[in-house]
Symmetry: C2
Subunit: 139 residues, 2 copies
Amino acid sequence: MKEALKEAQKAFDKDEVPVGAVIVCKNQIIARTHNLTETLTDVTAHAEMQAFTAASGFIGGKYLKDCTLYVTLEPCLMCAGAAFWTQIGKIVYGASDEKRGYSLVKKPVLHPSTQISSGVLEEESKQLLQEFFLKIREN
Amino acid sequence: MKEALKEAQKAFDKDEVPVGAVIVCKNQIIARTHNLTETLTDVTAHAEMQAFTAASGFIGGKYLKDCTLYVTLEPCLMCAGAAFWTQIGKIVYGASDEKRGYSLVKKPVLHPSTQISSGVLEEESKQLLQEFFLKIREN
Protein backbone atom coordinates (compact mmCIF):
# COMPACT_ATOMS: atom_id res chain seq x y z
CA MET A 1 0.00 0.00 0.00
CA LYS A 2 2.96 2.30 0.56
CA GLU A 3 3.79 1.89 -3.13
CA ALA A 4 0.19 2.77 -4.03
CA LEU A 5 0.51 5.89 -1.87
CA LYS A 6 3.64 6.87 -3.79
CA GLU A 7 1.58 6.59 -6.97
CA ALA A 8 -1.16 8.73 -5.43
CA GLN A 9 1.46 11.36 -4.65
CA LYS A 10 2.50 11.34 -8.33
CA ALA A 11 -1.13 12.05 -9.27
CA PHE A 12 -1.23 14.85 -6.69
CA ASP A 13 1.86 16.42 -8.21
CA LYS A 14 0.11 16.44 -11.62
CA ASP A 15 -3.02 18.12 -10.20
CA GLU A 16 -4.93 14.87 -10.59
CA VAL A 17 -7.28 13.55 -7.90
CA PRO A 18 -4.63 11.66 -5.91
CA VAL A 19 -5.43 7.96 -6.17
CA GLY A 20 -2.72 5.38 -6.70
CA ALA A 21 -2.81 1.66 -7.38
CA VAL A 22 -0.43 -1.25 -7.47
CA ILE A 23 -1.05 -4.87 -8.49
CA VAL A 24 1.03 -7.58 -6.88
CA CYS A 25 1.30 -11.10 -8.22
CA LYS A 26 3.51 -13.75 -6.60
CA ASN A 27 5.32 -11.15 -4.47
CA GLN A 28 6.10 -9.03 -7.50
CA ILE A 29 4.65 -5.65 -8.39
CA ILE A 30 3.38 -6.08 -11.94
CA ALA A 31 1.55 -2.74 -12.31
CA ARG A 32 1.95 0.74 -10.81
CA THR A 33 -0.53 3.37 -11.86
CA HIS A 34 -2.17 6.58 -10.75
CA ASN A 35 -5.23 8.51 -11.76
CA LEU A 36 -4.76 10.29 -15.10
CA THR A 37 -8.27 11.44 -15.95
CA GLU A 38 -7.25 15.07 -16.45
CA THR A 39 -3.99 14.37 -18.24
CA LEU A 40 -5.67 11.96 -20.66
CA THR A 41 -9.04 13.81 -20.76
CA ASP A 42 -10.64 10.44 -20.13
CA VAL A 43 -12.86 9.54 -17.19
CA THR A 44 -11.99 5.87 -17.69
CA ALA A 45 -8.33 6.54 -16.77
CA HIS A 46 -8.75 5.73 -13.07
CA ALA A 47 -5.72 4.21 -11.40
CA GLU A 48 -7.39 0.80 -11.08
CA MET A 49 -8.48 0.61 -14.73
CA GLN A 50 -4.97 1.31 -15.93
CA ALA A 51 -3.63 -1.20 -13.40
CA PHE A 52 -5.91 -3.96 -14.69
CA THR A 53 -4.87 -3.25 -18.27
CA ALA A 54 -1.16 -3.13 -17.36
CA ALA A 55 -1.30 -6.27 -15.22
CA SER A 56 -3.16 -8.24 -17.90
CA GLY A 57 -0.57 -7.10 -20.41
CA PHE A 58 2.22 -8.19 -18.10
CA ILE A 59 0.90 -11.67 -17.43
CA GLY A 60 -0.50 -12.11 -20.93
CA GLY A 61 -3.92 -13.17 -19.68
CA LYS A 62 -7.25 -11.53 -18.94
CA TYR A 63 -7.69 -12.95 -15.45
CA LEU A 64 -5.90 -11.78 -12.32
CA LYS A 65 -6.99 -14.57 -9.96
CA ASP A 66 -3.65 -14.81 -8.16
CA CYS A 67 -3.15 -11.06 -7.88
CA THR A 68 -3.88 -8.41 -5.27
CA LEU A 69 -4.87 -4.85 -6.09
CA TYR A 70 -3.73 -2.24 -3.59
CA VAL A 71 -5.52 1.06 -4.11
CA THR A 72 -5.56 4.15 -1.90
CA LEU A 73 -9.29 4.85 -2.37
CA GLU A 74 -12.26 2.50 -2.43
CA PRO A 75 -12.98 1.60 -6.07
CA CYS A 76 -15.98 3.21 -7.79
CA LEU A 77 -18.58 1.10 -9.61
CA MET A 78 -16.70 1.28 -12.90
CA CYS A 79 -13.51 -0.03 -11.30
CA ALA A 80 -15.35 -2.60 -9.18
CA GLY A 81 -17.17 -3.74 -12.32
CA ALA A 82 -13.83 -4.10 -14.09
CA ALA A 83 -12.44 -5.96 -11.06
CA PHE A 84 -15.33 -8.41 -11.41
CA TRP A 85 -14.32 -9.23 -14.96
CA THR A 86 -10.66 -9.73 -13.95
CA GLN A 87 -11.70 -12.14 -11.15
CA ILE A 88 -8.90 -10.58 -9.13
CA GLY A 89 -7.96 -12.55 -6.01
CA LYS A 90 -7.90 -9.72 -3.50
CA ILE A 91 -8.52 -6.00 -3.23
CA VAL A 92 -6.95 -3.95 -0.43
CA TYR A 93 -7.99 -0.34 -0.23
CA GLY A 94 -7.19 2.63 1.99
CA ALA A 95 -9.81 5.36 2.33
CA SER A 96 -13.51 4.68 1.89
CA ASP A 97 -15.38 6.65 -0.76
CA GLU A 98 -18.63 7.63 0.87
CA LYS A 99 -20.01 9.21 -2.30
CA ARG A 100 -19.02 6.92 -5.15
CA GLY A 101 -17.61 3.77 -3.51
CA TYR A 102 -18.82 0.47 -4.95
CA SER A 103 -19.90 -0.73 -1.50
CA LEU A 104 -22.80 1.74 -1.55
CA VAL A 105 -24.52 -0.76 -3.85
CA LYS A 106 -26.03 -3.48 -1.75
CA LYS A 107 -26.01 -6.15 -4.47
CA PRO A 108 -22.62 -7.92 -4.67
CA VAL A 109 -20.59 -6.15 -7.34
CA LEU A 110 -17.29 -7.98 -7.10
CA HIS A 111 -16.53 -11.52 -8.21
CA PRO A 112 -17.54 -14.03 -5.51
CA SER A 113 -13.93 -15.23 -5.19
CA THR A 114 -12.49 -11.73 -4.61
CA GLN A 115 -11.44 -11.05 -1.01
CA ILE A 116 -11.63 -7.53 0.38
CA SER A 117 -9.59 -5.71 2.97
CA SER A 118 -10.17 -2.03 3.72
CA GLY A 119 -8.81 0.76 5.89
CA VAL A 120 -5.15 -0.03 5.16
CA LEU A 121 -3.13 3.20 5.44
CA GLU A 122 -6.53 4.85 5.47
CA GLU A 123 -5.42 8.07 7.15
CA GLU A 124 -2.52 8.68 4.78
CA SER A 125 -4.71 7.92 1.75
CA LYS A 126 -7.47 10.22 2.98
CA GLN A 127 -5.11 13.01 3.98
CA LEU A 128 -3.66 13.25 0.48
CA LEU A 129 -7.17 13.51 -1.01
CA GLN A 130 -8.25 16.13 1.52
CA GLU A 131 -5.10 18.13 0.88
CA PHE A 132 -5.81 17.99 -2.86
CA PHE A 133 -9.39 19.21 -2.59
CA LEU A 134 -8.29 21.94 -0.18
CA LYS A 135 -5.68 23.02 -2.72
CA ILE A 136 -8.06 23.18 -5.69
CA ARG A 137 -10.67 25.06 -3.63
CA GLU A 138 -8.06 27.66 -2.70
CA ASN A 139 -7.14 28.25 -6.34
CA MET B 1 -28.05 1.44 -33.86
CA LYS B 2 -27.52 -0.08 -37.28
CA GLU B 3 -23.98 1.28 -37.19
CA ALA B 4 -23.48 -0.26 -33.74
CA LEU B 5 -24.70 -3.59 -35.15
CA LYS B 6 -22.11 -3.33 -37.93
CA GLU B 7 -19.49 -2.91 -35.21
CA ALA B 8 -20.87 -5.96 -33.36
CA GLN B 9 -20.51 -7.93 -36.59
CA LYS B 10 -16.84 -6.90 -36.76
CA ALA B 11 -16.36 -8.28 -33.24
CA PHE B 12 -18.13 -11.49 -34.29
CA ASP B 13 -15.77 -11.87 -37.23
CA LYS B 14 -12.81 -11.62 -34.81
CA ASP B 15 -14.25 -14.30 -32.49
CA GLU B 16 -15.01 -11.64 -29.91
CA VAL B 17 -18.31 -11.55 -28.00
CA PRO B 18 -20.24 -9.50 -30.56
CA VAL B 19 -21.05 -6.16 -28.98
CA GLY B 20 -20.76 -2.92 -30.92
CA ALA B 21 -21.06 0.72 -29.92
CA VAL B 22 -21.33 4.09 -31.57
CA ILE B 23 -21.36 7.55 -30.00
CA VAL B 24 -23.25 10.31 -31.77
CA CYS B 25 -22.83 13.98 -31.01
CA LYS B 26 -24.67 16.70 -32.93
CA ASN B 27 -25.74 14.26 -35.66
CA GLN B 28 -22.19 13.09 -36.19
CA ILE B 29 -20.73 9.71 -35.30
CA ILE B 30 -17.66 10.52 -33.22
CA ALA B 31 -16.76 6.99 -32.09
CA ARG B 32 -17.25 3.49 -33.52
CA THR B 33 -16.00 0.60 -31.46
CA HIS B 34 -16.50 -3.07 -30.81
CA ASN B 35 -15.56 -5.45 -28.05
CA LEU B 36 -11.86 -6.33 -28.15
CA THR B 37 -11.33 -8.12 -24.83
CA GLU B 38 -9.77 -11.20 -26.47
CA THR B 39 -7.70 -9.34 -29.04
CA LEU B 40 -6.26 -6.98 -26.41
CA THR B 41 -6.27 -9.56 -23.56
CA ASP B 42 -7.98 -6.91 -21.48
CA VAL B 43 -11.37 -7.22 -19.81
CA THR B 44 -11.69 -3.45 -19.78
CA ALA B 45 -11.80 -3.34 -23.60
CA HIS B 46 -15.59 -3.46 -23.84
CA ALA B 47 -17.07 -1.59 -26.79
CA GLU B 48 -18.51 1.14 -24.56
CA MET B 49 -15.26 1.80 -22.66
CA GLN B 50 -13.36 2.27 -25.91
CA ALA B 51 -16.18 4.45 -27.24
CA PHE B 52 -16.02 6.76 -24.20
CA THR B 53 -12.26 7.10 -24.56
CA ALA B 54 -12.49 7.72 -28.30
CA ALA B 55 -15.35 10.22 -28.01
CA SER B 56 -13.60 12.17 -25.24
CA GLY B 57 -10.50 12.26 -27.39
CA PHE B 58 -12.52 13.50 -30.33
CA ILE B 59 -14.26 16.33 -28.52
CA GLY B 60 -11.26 17.13 -26.33
CA GLY B 61 -13.28 17.00 -23.11
CA LYS B 62 -14.11 14.46 -20.44
CA TYR B 63 -17.87 14.97 -20.49
CA LEU B 64 -20.27 13.68 -23.11
CA LYS B 65 -23.39 15.53 -22.01
CA ASP B 66 -24.61 16.23 -25.55
CA CYS B 67 -23.87 12.75 -26.86
CA THR B 68 -25.80 9.52 -27.27
CA LEU B 69 -24.28 6.08 -26.88
CA TYR B 70 -25.80 3.38 -29.06
CA VAL B 71 -24.78 -0.08 -27.92
CA THR B 72 -26.11 -3.47 -28.99
CA LEU B 73 -26.10 -4.99 -25.48
CA GLU B 74 -27.12 -3.49 -22.16
CA PRO B 75 -23.99 -2.07 -20.48
CA CYS B 76 -22.45 -3.98 -17.58
CA LEU B 77 -21.68 -2.27 -14.27
CA MET B 78 -18.18 -1.29 -15.38
CA CYS B 79 -19.52 0.43 -18.50
CA ALA B 80 -22.49 1.96 -16.68
CA GLY B 81 -20.07 3.23 -14.02
CA ALA B 82 -17.93 4.77 -16.76
CA ALA B 83 -21.07 6.26 -18.36
CA PHE B 84 -21.84 7.90 -15.02
CA TRP B 85 -18.48 9.67 -15.04
CA THR B 86 -18.96 10.86 -18.63
CA GLN B 87 -22.41 12.30 -17.75
CA ILE B 88 -23.50 11.10 -21.19
CA GLY B 89 -26.80 12.56 -22.36
CA LYS B 90 -28.47 9.38 -23.56
CA ILE B 91 -27.90 5.65 -23.79
CA VAL B 92 -29.78 3.54 -26.32
CA TYR B 93 -29.24 -0.19 -26.12
CA GLY B 94 -30.46 -3.25 -27.98
CA ALA B 95 -30.53 -6.56 -26.12
CA SER B 96 -30.90 -6.77 -22.36
CA ASP B 97 -28.17 -8.55 -20.41
CA GLU B 98 -30.01 -10.62 -17.86
CA LYS B 99 -26.83 -11.79 -16.16
CA ARG B 100 -24.53 -8.79 -16.02
CA GLY B 101 -26.64 -5.80 -17.07
CA TYR B 102 -26.31 -2.68 -14.93
CA SER B 103 -30.08 -2.54 -14.40
CA LEU B 104 -29.88 -5.60 -12.14
CA VAL B 105 -28.61 -3.20 -9.47
CA LYS B 106 -31.55 -1.42 -7.93
CA LYS B 107 -29.62 1.67 -6.82
CA PRO B 108 -29.31 4.23 -9.65
CA VAL B 109 -25.99 3.61 -11.35
CA LEU B 110 -26.13 6.13 -14.18
CA HIS B 111 -25.84 9.89 -13.94
CA PRO B 112 -29.23 11.46 -13.05
CA SER B 113 -29.24 13.42 -16.31
CA THR B 114 -28.68 10.35 -18.52
CA GLN B 115 -31.76 9.21 -20.45
CA ILE B 116 -32.23 5.56 -21.29
CA SER B 117 -33.90 3.83 -24.20
CA SER B 118 -33.78 0.04 -24.57
CA GLY B 119 -34.93 -2.70 -26.91
CA VAL B 120 -33.81 -0.88 -30.08
CA LEU B 121 -32.93 -3.49 -32.73
CA GLU B 122 -33.11 -5.91 -29.82
CA GLU B 123 -33.71 -9.03 -31.93
CA GLU B 124 -30.80 -8.36 -34.29
CA SER B 125 -28.50 -7.57 -31.38
CA LYS B 126 -29.54 -10.70 -29.48
CA GLN B 127 -29.39 -12.94 -32.52
CA LEU B 128 -25.74 -12.08 -33.19
CA LEU B 129 -24.86 -12.90 -29.58
CA GLN B 130 -26.79 -16.18 -29.65
CA GLU B 131 -25.13 -17.14 -32.91
CA PHE B 132 -21.73 -16.41 -31.38
CA PHE B 133 -22.28 -18.53 -28.27
CA LEU B 134 -23.69 -21.33 -30.41
CA LYS B 135 -20.57 -21.17 -32.57
CA ILE B 136 -18.10 -21.30 -29.66
CA ARG B 137 -20.02 -24.15 -28.03
CA GLU B 138 -19.80 -26.13 -31.25
CA ASN B 139 -16.02 -25.69 -31.44
